[in-house]
């Protein structure tokens, strides 16, 4: 104890040089540092890919706009989609899981710290490689720049004949690297959760966050390999004439779609489960009640995980499957609605009868609940295969999945930042700026994406760089673009808040939210070893038990 106090007292005077600190980042295997590096890198790629979206919206603000050329536009939506999924969504979930899982299960680090660092650097350099294509995509043939085949890169558009130059190769390699990063993170999470839990933490006493991350990790292990395999096959096609997907040589275009979506649909759930994970931690704390129906929440999440592997071809209702195939995938897709409904109802049940405190994390979670509800319902519409024949590949679909990924995932990411920043940095984020962030972003988000559903009803396809006047699309596109300005201003508020509060924010203390999981039992920020003494738990809410010895949870569980 004495040694530690001396070390803490001396720390502020030391001021290590920038080189030393950078060196430390490069060599670190600490799960908290890696977690924050993941999140910082993801936020960086988020601003880049978000700016690309803003450019696309500027091009579409009026019909027949000449702001950017079709080639540039096509690169923008490809890079935006690829980056948001593989360089923002995946790493931010890896970052949150890395930072929080060991703390929540009372462990000192991840099970495989070096593998952890390896995963981060694979993702990070994969991301840089993807953007490097803007400089090097032309290759020796002098054709091409950044990839322009769309984020799901339907063959045979990716064949040499239609995609000359190296741009598609950069896309393949970047995603392969990111895939390796994701797979090792998943292995590490599973190993950590199964082997490193503190005394007393049975599986059914784990925080919901940890349960959901375990399920996500399992899904990554099953979903990533088909994608990596398909990428390698495509690489063989492009360099060795393997002809898996090369239709001009008798390959199959639909095969690629199956491979891609058998990864791609579970991927959507891989991205949304972390949102569930965050909401399942924050909603109880700010409703002052335990999560309602914990075993049902766990079971529902596992069911979603399983069903998500049997729904992939609902992305392919228009490729000409048989009526039996279409019906099968419509049925499985609608079935996902049942466990997803259970989750929403249980969050509602958690809030019902509580004392809801409208702190920033809770505000973003409430936004998440409403928006995810809408996203789920538009998902049901798309699952009705005949309705999908009209809506597929229209702006309605774009609006739907942005409701899932922004309205759902990003809102909980924001909630997570406001909730755990005090733990990671030791200071609170400014509430006033946070409220500006919340309201600007919410208004902007709804301006952009509520209106985007409608041109889909009116026949506007997605991924078109321009459109003619007179089809009733103009006003909705105009409003969509205006919403982007508000969202950008909101993100600026967040960035300023993150930087400002790190130095000037109010001191957080160990447990600013009066929360119940183990990460709040240690200091803010936690020491390198997390806990001086590894905790012992007797229930799902160990800190509740300590704070309420007269009425502990373990009596009821």
């Amino acid at each position: 104890m004495a040694v530690q106090e001396v070390a803490l007292a001396r720390a502020p005077e030391m001021h290590p040089s920038i080189i030393t600190r950078l060196h430390e980042l490069v060599v670190t295997v600490d799960h908290k540092k890696l977690g924050l590096m993941y999140i910082a890198a993801a936020l960086f790629f988020f601003t880049v890919a978000g700016s690309m979206a803003a450019l696309m919206r500027l091009q579409l603000v009026v019909p027949n706009n000449d702001f950017i050329s079709p080639q540039v536009f096509n690169r923008l939506f490809t890079m935006h989609g690829t980056a948001m999924v593989f360089l923002v969504g995946m790493p931010i979930l890896a970052g949150l899981a890395n930072y929080l899982v060991p703390l929540m299960i009372g462990a000192r680090d991840m099970a495989l710290p070096r593998l952890n660092a390896f995963g981060f650097w694979m993702f990070f350099f994969g991301g840089l490689l993807l953007y490097f294509s803007y400089l090097a995509g032309a290759g020796l043939s002098g054709m091409g720049s950044a990839p322009d085949v769309g984020w799901f890169a339907y063959s045979p558009l990716t064949a040499r004949a239609f995609s000359p130059g190296m741009s598609t190769d950069y896309w393949i390699l970047a995603i392969l690297l990111g895939g390796i990063g994701s797979i090792v993170t998943a292995i590490n999470l599973i190993a950590t959760i199964f082997c490193m839990r503190c005394k007393g933490m049975t599986l059914m006493r784990m925080p919901m966050f940890v349960w959901l991350m375990l399920i996500v990790a399992g899904m990554i292990l099953l979903a990533m390999p088909p994608l990596s395999a398909a990428q390698i096959m495509l690489l063989l096609d492009r360099f060795l004439g393997a002809m898996f997907f090369d239709t001009q040589a008798g390959g199959s275009a639909v095969l690629w779609q199956h491979f891609f979506w058998i990864f791609g649909h579970p991927e959507v759930y891989i991205l949304i489960m972390p949102a569930f994970a965050v909401a399942s931690e924050i909603i109880p704390v700010f409703s002052r009640k335990p999560i309602f129906g914990y075993p049902f929440m766990v079971a529902a999440a596992i069911m979603i995980g399983f069903i998500s592997f049997g729904v992939w071809a609902h992305h392919m209702f228009t490729v000409g499957m048989s009526s039996i195939g279409n019906t099968f995938f419509a049925v499985t897709t609608m079935l996902v609605g049942v466990p997803t409904g259970i989750k929403i109802f249980n969050w509602l049940g958690t809030m019902y009868g509580g004392k809801i405190r409208f702190e920033l994390p809770m505000l973003f979670c409430i936004g998440f609940l409403f928006q995810f509800l809408i996203a789920g319902l538009t998902g049901i519409m798309l699952a009705a295969a005949p309705f999908d024949w009209q809506l597929s590949d229209s702006t309605f679909v774009v609006a739907h999945f942005h409701f899932v990924l922004i309205g759902g995932l990003l809102y909980t990411i924001f909630a997570a930042i406001y909730y755990w920043y005090p733990k990671a940095i030791g200071r609170m984020l400014n509430k006033k700026l946070g409220l500006w962030h919340f309201w600007l972003f919410t208004i902007g988000f709804h301006l952009t994406f509520d209106t985007m559903h409608i041109p889909g009803f009116l026949g506007m396809p997605r991924r078109i760089y321009t459109y003619d006047a007179g089809r009733g699309w103009e006003v909705f596109n105009m409003i969509s673009t205006i919403g982007v300005a508000l969202q950008a201003a909101a993100v600026l508020c967040l960035v300023i808040n993150l930087l400002w509060s790190a130095r000037k924010g109010e001191k957080a203390g160990d447990d600013p939210w009066d929360a119940w999981t183990l990460e709040w039992a240690t200091t803010s920020p936690p020491p390198a070893y997390n806990f001086e003494v590894l905790p012992k738990v007797r229930s799902r809410r160990p800190l509740w038990d300590i704070k309420h010895p007269e009425d502990p949870d373990w009596r009821y569980e």
Binding site: Y154, P290, M334, G341, I356, L458, G459, I464, G470
Partner: protein, 330 residues
């Protein structure tokens, strides 16, 4: 360049021409029915769950007078869990039955033998349209007969692709179906009204995906028969433009374009035999007027950037002659 101002005004079309809620054929109507049902169910769910959320948030907000104490700790309830598992299952069950029926109605329909058969081949970035039974080849603008209740007439499209994946989508007639290389897909419709129907390519297919306009012109039967007769004729052979014809046939235009009755037999680009019977050029990129046709032949890259027709580097004189010749191909 005055034309530039209005090159994009393809035609005056009614506002609702691609609205999926204004169906004008049997498949789009079946889809419309199920859309309304789905929208209604989802709307009711939204009102109920959203209403409960709003109620909960307002009713159970922390009030300033009792911040200290914790509310009763409730861990769950098996009965309630059962209820909100069973109700969604019932709703899903209903939706599944309706969905399965509509899928079958649209996909498994048997077509009467007198249905008009058309093959549509997607190209980067235009539509090749063939009527195998009528011996007609044209591009971008699909002409079909109307289906009136007294004399129903269906059109069945066989959908293919020459290069990458495309998708054929005319919202008022049918849902979309993809055109995929090495594969035959089918779509059918029976337009209830004459007139112009619009649609777009709905699967990203490369640089000019935005300019793959679909125009379907629905005629009365007699009018359609007249159109067929016109299209079946060989290309007009007008003596006044022999010089232009000669230039056209002596340049590499013939490697990509077909004009029936001449040596021009290329298959990469649209058939030009009856070019002037079409209203648009470049798959709806511009209107087909003499000035714009000249601008197009001169440098298509200016009007449809990235399209596969190159600037042929023609002299002004060659350009005049070729355009004069093309203008006669009624």
């Amino acid at each position: 360049m005055a034309d530039n101002l209005n090159i994009h005004q393809i035609a005056v079309v009614p506002e609702q021409v691609t609205n999926i809620f204004k169906p004008l054929a049997t498949p789009s109507e079946s889809i419309y029915q199920i859309s309304l049902l789905t929208l209604a169910i989802c709307g009711v769910i939204f009102l109920i769950v959203g209403g409960l959320l709003v109620y909960t948030i307002i009713r159970f907000r922390t009030r300033s007078n009792d911040e200290q104490s914790e509310p009763p700790q409730i861990y769950g309830s098996n009965q309630i869990e059962l209820a909100w598992t069973v109700f969604p299952i019932l709703i899903v069950f209903v939706l599944i039955l309706v969905t399965a029926r509509t899928i079958s109605d649209v996909q498994n329909a048997t077509h009467p033998p007198d249905s008009l058969k058309v093959t549509v081949v997607g190209h980067q970035w235009w539509w090749e349209i063939r009527y195998p039974d009528l011996g007609i080849v044209t591009a971008n603008e699909l002409h079909v007969p109307v289906s009136d209740p007294a004399k129903p007439r269906r059109t069945v499209l066989k959908l293919q692709s020459a290069d990458v994946a495309h998708s054929y989508w005319v919202p008022q007639l049918s849902g979309k179906v993809d055109l995929i290389p090495n594969r035959d897909n089918y779509m059918w419709f029976d337009p209830k009204q004459t007139g112009l129907y619009l649609g777009n390519c709905a699967e990203y297919c490369g640089t000019q995906h935005a300019h793959m306009l679909i125009r379907v012109i629905v005629h009365q039967q007699e009018e359609f028969d007249r159109w067929v007769l016109e299209q079946q004729k060989p290309a007009v052979d007008n003596r006044e433009v022999t010089a232009g014809r000669k230039v056209f046939l002596s340049t590499s235009c013939v490697n990509c374009h077909t004009i029936s009755g001449t040596i021009a037999g290329g298959k990469f680009g649209p058939d030009l035999t009856h070019l002037m019977s079409r209203d648009t050029l470049g798959a709806g990129a511009i209107k087909n007027t003499p000035n714009l046709l000249r601008a197009w032949v001169h440098d298509p890259q200016k009007l449809k950037e990235g399209c596969l027709m190159p600037d042929m580097q023609l002299s002004q004189q060659e350009l005049d002659l070729i355009v004069a010749y093309l203008s006669t191909l009624k």
